[in-house]
Structures are given as structure tokens and as C-alpha cells.
């Protein structure tokens, strides 16, 4: 079974490392981005199965990234979990309106994070994407061989 891919977007290298360490232990491949524009580039390059998105980011904030990603048909169903230090109802509502699937408040508990990620990764659409990725990888490999 191909590993699912999660994109972590946060300007803090510590948060990126924490999430990477936590999810890699669950056999989830993690790719990271430190700002809004790199996040959009990573979505196109890595085609992640899920995105963990901070709100306060340099160059483009989390709400805007969420809206841009949702406009692309290919990623309309990709789960987006917002990770934010803001825990007000307004922020959560704004996250929801911009298209996020779930909202987790920082500082998060690692078990809570893993549970949320797994819940959204265990869907037929994600499994299908992973199978497609594996098939294309094998095709690439065959071409190389």
C-alpha cells in the first residue's frame, strides 16, 4: 500500500518538524512548506492527500490558500485541516467559509492530530489517489528499467 501524503504548511520550522515526526511514525509521508506561495507550489508538485494549514503565513494567508485550492477541481475534495493559535468562533467560522474541513487549535495534542488526520485519510477518494500514485510510480520505474 502506498503511503498517504500530507502537506504541512506553517511558518514555524518547529511546528513543521513536530507534525513531520508525529505523522511519519504513522507511516504517512510528510512534505512541508513555510509560506503561502510555496504551499501552492507543493500542492501542484506533490498532489497531497491532505493539507494541514496554518492561518498566519508569510506571502499569502491560510484562508486565501484554502480558497485558491478549493477553486481547483482536482483538489476540491482534498481534506484541509486548519491549525491555528486563534481559537475564537469568528476565526473558526472564517476557516469553514474559506473551505477548510476541520479546525484544530494550537497547541495541539499529538494524539488528537493523528486521529484527525487518519479520520480524513481513511476515505475511498484518498485510497484511490494513493493507488493512482503507486501505479504512476511503477510506470515510471518500468520506463527507467
Amino acid at each position: 500500500m502506498e503511503e498517504p501524503v500530507v502537506l504541512v504548511v506553517d511558518d514555524s520550522p518547529t511546528v513543521r518538524k513536530i507534525v513531520q515526526l508525529t505523522l511519519q511514525r504513522e507511516r504517512i509521508r510528510v512534505v512541508t512548506a513555510g509560506d503561502g506561495l510555496s504551499a501552492l507550489a507543493a500542492v501542484a508538485d506533490e498532489q497531497p492527500d491532505l493539507m494541514l494549514l496554518d492561518i498566519m503565513l508569510p506571502r499569502m494567508d491560510g484562508y486565501n490558500i484554502c480558497q485558491v485550492v478549493r477553486k481547483n477541481l482536482a483538489y476540491r475534495d482534498m481534506p484541509i485541516i486548519m491549525l491555528s493559535g486563534r481559537d475564537g468562533i469568528f476565526d473558526k467560522m472564517r476557516g469553514k467559509l474559506s473551505g477548510s474541513t476541520e479546525y484544530i487549535t494550537k497547541p495541539f495534542d499529538s494524539t488528537e492530530l493523528v486521529q484527525a488526520v487518519k479520520r480524513h485519510l481513511e476515505t475511498p477518494a484518498v485510497r484511490e489517489r494513493a493507488a493512482q500514485r503507486m501505479a504512476s510510480r511503477q510506470q515510471r520505474l518500468r520506463r527507467r528499467v
Binding site: E2, E3, S12, T14, I18, L21, P107, S110, L141, R142
Partner: protein, 458 residues
């Protein structure tokens, strides 16, 4: 609904795996033999009565790339590239390594055969369970992507039974195929003087608290019972210890959450003046240090496995471990003597909260800057000691070092910004003092402090 193409099924009690495989081999069958026993599952792919490959659904694939990197078979840069190309699939990794000329082409079938023998040696010991044989060959086509090698069933069975016997004879009954070992940080002898053989060194290299015994066996192509015997020897030599997986998970969870909270603490209150920011930084580091110490009180090697240890003893241990470190550091920051203390098993920095009532202006700023530096040094030392004692020089240890470095980088960036702000303020105040001839160059005046001792707003 009945699965399509099923031509044979039954219980392992009535017809064992050995007999079933032999029967399928004799009749030259092609298809998939699925065997289940409790939680364990195995799918053996047959082609014209020969084994082509095998799949263990639900069993995590060994991280061959990382193990080869640790063994020095592939350089770290190539490891990253390989991981990107191969993902988590060890068979794909081997195929690419052959392509990159990192291993010989004959290693591919050797590894598949080894994996098949290992898995079947385990399955022949299953006494209860079910088997099913399906003619459907689509799983084989999907699984075996590259060139196929056919393995003789009789040969595989013979080797598997020999290996199963080895497990029975092995003196390492307490070790299982899932045992994880880790290097002991306390070992201070010379490993080269111990007369370890090549395989023993291999097992030692891979005992990093991450890879289970069966993964090490696959990486080294040494049977699982042999690896268990080597591990037992390394345990006797005091080179490794068996990892308590439950404790380790708990410990990692606690440390990850502690760093998450510290980072969150750090990211708050960024818009404030230099003194407030310094105080906030001290609080962040203080909370982090006390968190680390509370964590260590639970997981320190000396306090583990002793049931409930009296609090007085825990505090004594913590004071003896960390108290002298702080005292030593305070020699470089004499202003912090008695202001920041280590007592009752925790860092006490409460005096800093009321420092502004005692000192003002530049003196306050300098004191807080000393506190920031002292806490920064102390926090680093505490983390190093805690990590070294609890997980040692293992892979988990290295992962936490990585994570810790990221957190320290954020602290350092904050400190650098503060140092810059302090320097800029000082230059500004010196210039202002020079521009006002006749003003006495006393310390409070030069640093922009009003005669009543309160800072001027700049």
C-alpha cells in the same frame, strides 16, 4: 458473495500449510494462496507450481533505505533520492538500487527468496487458521511489477522448516521477531576491542531503537533466530538494551507535546517592547525547562521501573542533577545569582517578574538580557541531559535533536532580534546624549531613563 476463482479452501488443523503448498506445487497451479491465523495474514503468489512472491497484508514494510544508509551501503544524499523514487516499497527500492548500481542484480531474487522463506517459516508454525486458493492472477500482476523469479516450493519449504527449528533451538526465547533494541549511551568501552564479527556489527549498527528484529534480519539477510542470538550477545556485552515500546511511545508523546506547547508560548506576545519581550522569552524558556524537568521526573532512567518513588527522593535527584549546572552557569551571569534559582526540583524565576520594582532603565534591560542568556544556556543543557539519559544515541534521540534544533533556531532568531533592538536603542541614546552638551553622562541619563527612574517613551 463467494469470491471468484476460489478452487480450494480449508482449515490449517486439517491440512497444514506445508501439505497445501506441496499439493499446489505438484499440480502446477497458478494463483494466490491466502492464509490467515488470528491477526496474521499471508498471501503466497504461485505460478505454474512455483512461488513468485509473497505479501504480508497489514505488516509494515521494513525501511530498507534507512537501514542501508545506517549500514553505510548508500550515502545519505542517495538515500533521500531513493526514498523519493521508491516510496515505502522495499522491492521497488531494491530495483532502483540495482539500476543505480548500488547493489548487484542478483540481490533482488535473493532478497525475495529470503523474505518468502522467513514468512513461510513463521506460517508453518501456525496450528489454527484458514487457507484459500484463488485462481485469480490479477493480484500477482499488480504485486510483481518487475522481472519475475520462480522459487521451488520444496526448497523454500525445506529452508523454512530449518529456520522454524532454529527458532525452537534458539536460547533467545525472551526475544521475538518484533523486539526492538537500542544502543546504550552509558557504554564507554572500545567496541573494536570486543571482537565482534561482521554480522554482529551489522546488528549493532541497526539497533537504533527503531527497527524490529525481523527488519534487521531482512536487511542483513541473516535469519531471524541468528539475529536474536546476536542481539542476546550484544545485550550481555552491555552494548544495547531492549526498548520498552509502550514506555517509549509515552515518552515521545510527552516530549512532542512539551515542545508543541513551548513553541506556542514562544509565538505569543510578539508585539511588545524589548523588556516585555525579554521577560516573555524567559517565561517561555522557564516553562519549557520546568516541563522538561517534570517529564524527566517521570522517565529518568534512575527513577524508572521502581513503582511510585517518594516525591522527596525525586526532588533530591532533580536538584542533584540540574542544580549544580545552573550554579555553574550563574558564574558567567553573576547578576542572576539568587534571582534565578533551582530549588525543590524546579527552576524558580519568579523574582524576574517583579524585577522592575527593584531596577530600572538600562539596568533592568541588562538584567533581563542576562536572564534570557542564562535560561537559554540552561534549557539547552537540560534538554541534552534529559534526552541522553532517556533515549540515548538512538534514532528517536536524533529525531528529537532535529526537532529541538528547529525550536532553538526560533529562540535564537528571537534573541538575535532582541540583541539588535538593544544595540539600536543604545546607539540612539548615546547619540542623543552627545547632542545634549552639558548633560551629565550618568548611567540613567545615558540610557534614556527619566529622573524618576521610569523609561522614556522613544
Amino acid at each position: 458473495m463467494e469470491p471468484q476463482g476460489r478452487i480450494l479452501d480449508g482449515n490449517l488443523e486439517t491440512l497444514g500449510l506445508q501439505s497445501t503448498l506441496k499439493m499446489l506445487a505438484l499440480s502446477g497451479k497458478t494463483g494466490v494462496l491466502s492464509v490467515t491465523s488470528g491477526q496474521e495474514r499471508l498471501a503466497i503468489f504461485l505460478q505454474n507450481g512455483h512461488i513468485v512472491d509473497l505479501d504480508e497484508p497489514g505488516a509494515p514494510a521494513p525501511d530498507l533505505i534507512d537501514m542501508f544508509r545506517l549500514l553505510g551501503r548508500i550515502p545519505p544524499q542517495r538515500a533521500a533520492e531513493l526514498r523519493r523514487l521508491a516510496g515505502a516499497n522495499p522491492a521497488t527500492a531494491i530495483a532502483i538500487m540495482v539500476q543505480m548500481q548500488l547493489c548487484a542484480p542478483e540481490e533482488m531474487p535473493r532478497r525475495t527468496e529470503f523474505r518468502v522463506i522467513q514468512a513461510i517459516s513463521r506460517a508453518v508454525r501456525w496450528e489454527r487458521g484458514r487457507f484459500e486458493f484463488h485462481r485469480d492472477i490479477s493480484p500477482i500482476q499488480a504485486h510483481v511489477g518487475g522481472p519475475q523469479h520462480l522459487f521451488n516450493v520444496d526448497h523454500v519449504l525445506l529452508e523454512a522448516l530449518r529456520m522454524a527449528d532454529e527458532w525452537g533451538r534458539s536460547g533467545s526465547l525472551s526475544l521475538t521477531r518484533n523486539t526492538v533494541a537500542r544502543w546504550l549511551p552509558q557504554f564507554d568501552g572500545d567496541v573494536t576491542q570486543l571482537g565482534l564479527g561482521r554480522e554482529e556489527i551489522g546488528v549493532l549498527c541497526l539497533s537504533n531503537g527503531q527497527f524490529p528484529l525481523h527488519a534487521i534480519s531482512y536487511a542483513l539477510l541473516v535469519s531471524e533466530p541468528q539475529v536474536a542470538d546476536i542481539m542476546r550477545r550484544l545485550l550481555e556485552l552491555g552494548l544495547v538494551e531492549v526498548v520498552d515500546a509502550h514506555l517509549e511511545t509515552e515518552l515521545e508523546h510527552s516530549l512532542v507535546n512539551l515542545i508543541t506547547q513551548s513553541q506556542h508560548h514562544l509565538s505569543q506576545e510578539t508585539r511588545s517592547n524589548a523588556e516585555q519581550r525579554m521577560l516573555a522569552l524567559v517565561r517561555t524558556m522557564g516553562v519549557c525547562v520546568n516541563g522538561l524537568i517534570t517529564h524527566h521526573a517521570r522517565y529518568a532512567r534512575k527513577l524508572r521501573g521502581r513503582g511510585e518513588v517518594p516525591q522527596r527522593e525525586v526532588r533530591r535527584y532533580l536538584d542533584a542533577t540540574f542544580g549544580p549546572v545552573l550554579a555553574e552557569l550563574e558564574r558567567s551571569f553573576p547578576r542572576m545569582d539568587e534571582v534565578v534559582r533551582f530549588s525543590d526540583g524546579r527552576l524558580d524565576y519568579q523574582e524576574l517578574e517583579t524585577l522592575e520594582k527593584v531596577v530600572k532603565g538600562a539596568e533592568l534591560s541588562d538584567c533581563l538580557w542576562d536572564a534570557v542568556q542564562l535560561c537559554s544556556h540552561f534549557m539547552r543543557i537540560v534538554f541534552d541531559r534529559v534526552l541522553n539519559d532517556e533515549v540515548g544515541n538512538s534514532r528517536v534521540g536524533h529525531q528529537f535533536e532535529d526537532l529541538w534544533s528547529a525550536f532553538l533556531r526560533e529562540i535564537d532568531e528571537d534573541m538575535a532580534r532582541l540583541a539588535y533592538r538593544r544595540a539600536a536603542t543604545r546607539v540612539q541614546q548615546e547619540r542623543a546624549a552627545q547632542a545634549q552638551p552639558g548633560v551629565m553622562s550618568g548611567v540613567p541619563q545615558a540610557y534614556g531613563v527619566a529622573p524618576d527612574g521610569r523609561r522614556r517613551l522613544s
